[in-house]
Symmetry: C2
Subunit: 144 residues, 2 copies
């Protein structure tokens, strides 16, 4: 019986999310539910994976809005297959790599800059990441 449905309580226990959060995700369109005869939500097992993916993406710093957009690219009519999930994975993998690079650069600059006295907004690569120098007088200006 590969298509046995899960109640929201089971989803909650297995996904490690409060029921209120599942409700919230449904309001946000991140997941959907069907109802049983007594108007209770039931979920296909697929949804367990979907929720797992949402959690993973969130842990990696993706917002619910972005997650929602990404999930929208999953097929509507059929259950997503491995290739579908793989495409999502690839996007977030790249995202994560970028995020890691940013943090690493930040950390290295932090080490170099903050303690040594160079952390003046005028000159420091860290405080003034875009190397924007003001035209009039000394000191950096912020260019939006």
């Amino acid at each position: 019986m590969p298509d046995r449905m899960l109640t929201i309580g089971q989803m909650s226990a297995r996904a490690g999310l409060p029921i209120s959060t599942l409700h919230f995700y449904e309001r946000r369109g991140l997941i959907t539910s069907q109802r049983d005869g007594a108007n209770r939500r039931v979920y296909p097992r697929e949804t367990l994976r979907r929720v797992a993916v949402i959690k993973v993406a969130q842990r990696s710093g993706v917002t619910l809005g972005e997650i929602s957009a990404a999930l929208d690219h999953l097929p509507k009519g059929r259950a997503p297959d491995t290739a579908d999930w793989e495409r999502l994975s690839a996007i977030w993998h790249a995202d994560l790599t970028a995020r890691i690079e940013t943090l690493t650069a930040l950390r290295d600059k932090l080490k170099i800059c903050i303690g040594c006295g160079c952390l003046s907004v005028e000159r420091c690569a860290l405080a003034n990441p875009d190397d924007v120098l003001g035209a009039e007088g000394p000191g950096a200006r912020y260019i939006p």
Copy 2:
């Protein structure tokens, strides 16, 4: 004249933050100001550095609450010196390193797990990061 004060407009331009944000930081106790004869905020140049540090910490994912706590350890009576800033730097450096490691692990697991079909909440290291397996029946249970 090393102690020339800055107006809030100058702070804003040089730090690259809107005036409203400087007001907000002051409400939050992250920075302080003195007033001139016309009740306008003026800041010692020190504050420029302080704001730079706040921005850097924020970019690295530290919350304002944590930043505030860290800044509270700076000396009250005198201007912070290099060693003071260095202590802050060391804390956040460690923080950043931890964060980077988390993200890297996440990314690598993502690559391994999400596309390959193993991302079931029951077994996957990614979806079930603490390897918590339910005692009754198959399937992970969330242990808060």
